[in-house]
Symmetry: C2
Subunit: 236 residues, 2 copies
């Protein structure tokens, strides 16, 4: 930024220009805070201390900026040693880490629905995922299928929490009385659930919204999936 807001006027500084990295970092921060629909170029420009349109010179378009941000966050995933004695340890670590990342950045799954992400960050992840399943003993196409099975399972699991987080942010942004709206929505959900026998039976046991889905459902499912894959491994 070549100017800083100080008490309402701009003080000139030795010029240092925006960088793409800086912009992507700021975009991710805004996305985390306000969700995909909450990101707008004018707010981003303000955060960066420059005009909204300056960003365009560096990233071309908002869509491209989102693509860049969407790829960047894949670098947050740590890659476990693929040659552990127990491949399930590595597989579980990567799946859990991915789940956590997707929960940290709920907008990523929204972006995934709209843009195809295939940058270096995701490639780095995908490649290492394959390493783990190949080291486990899955050969050729079987490694792809095993990796895809766990990967898609994790994506699907993160969808619920991500949707809940996005909804919350959206309401807080648009709705003057977000808490009341959320309460109303949950009441309505319970009213609907009450009309179906098995859902009704669960109304008292656990609350009806996704954000309350207990974390152990993910771990339960993940271990079941890995069991199913391990059985196939024995048959190879």
């Amino acid at each position: 930024m070549n100017a800083v807001q100080v008490d309402g006027y701009r003080e000139s500084m030795p010029r240092d220009t925006l960088t793409r990295e800086q912009i992507v970092t700021a975009a991710i921060a805004l996305l985390d805070a306000d969700g995909l629909e909450g990101l707008n170029m004018r707010a981003l420009g303000e955060r960066l201390g420059s005009a909204a349109t300056a960003v365009y010179w560096h990233v071309g378009s908002k869509d491209n900026l989102i693509a860049l941000a969407s790829d960047q966050v894949w670098h947050e995933i740590t890659l476990p040693d693929p040659d552990l004695v127990n491949w399930r340890t590595a597989a579980t670590a990567m799946a859990t880490d991915l789940y956590a990342m997707l929960t940290r950045h709920p907008w990523l799954l929204q972006a995934f629905g709209s843009f195809l992400m295939s940058g270096p960050g995701k490639a780095r992840h995908d490649d290492h995922l394959l390493a783990i399943y190949e080291a486990a003993g899955f050969a050729g196409a079987a490694a792809d299928q095993a990796a895809a099975t766990v990967f898609t399972f994790v994506l699907g699991n993160a969808l619920g929490p991500a949707a809940a987080a996005s909804l919350t942010r959206k309401l807080r942004r648009e709705d003057s009385d977000a808490e009341q709206t959320i309460r109303d929505t949950m009441t309505e959900a319970r009213r609907i659930a009450a009309q179906f026998p098995r859902l009704r039976a669960r109304l008292d046991t656990h609350s009806a919204d996704y954000s309350a889905a207990p974390d152990n459902t993910f771990q339960f499912g993940l271990q079941a999936v890995l069991d199913g894959l391990e059985a196939r491994l024995g048959a190879m």
Copy 2:
């Protein structure tokens, strides 16, 4: 609609007003054709033969309309007999049907990321899903976890094809030369993949985009997941 477009002029008819059902049906058609971002109220109004703003009286807002459409499509899923001798048959049927529905309506997963869908249509589905896993022998919370495991697996699997479909529609809408852009994107994806050993090894085997993910990956994964669950069933 109270008027019909005939050769460019409007012919008045005995008044029949818009219905919410009509609007939702038209919205689903537009969403299927143009994707979530392609739906706009003016186009919807035009398709319905009325002013864009007439829709608001019936559905309140675009968000609400999307929520209505998002719930409606769940009714397309057929509910298999939960008391089949082999529970896996019913479970597989429902999962496969859901996968097909999500592929037919790629915008649904996008909407799922932005809005929480919990209408009667999804409740009907969820309730029946529980019926199947309870009939299979999963008791109490185990039925929820088993159902959620398969359900989220299917969601995650549909995400790839849905993203590809959305992207294609988006490009066709915005880009004058969509085919070229798609080709460029795939070339770029291959360039990136070439920098990672395991992805590079696969470059010639199968193409790098999601739409080409073979259908058998879904079936492979689904059966693996069901295997993992069945093993738990034996231990109950």
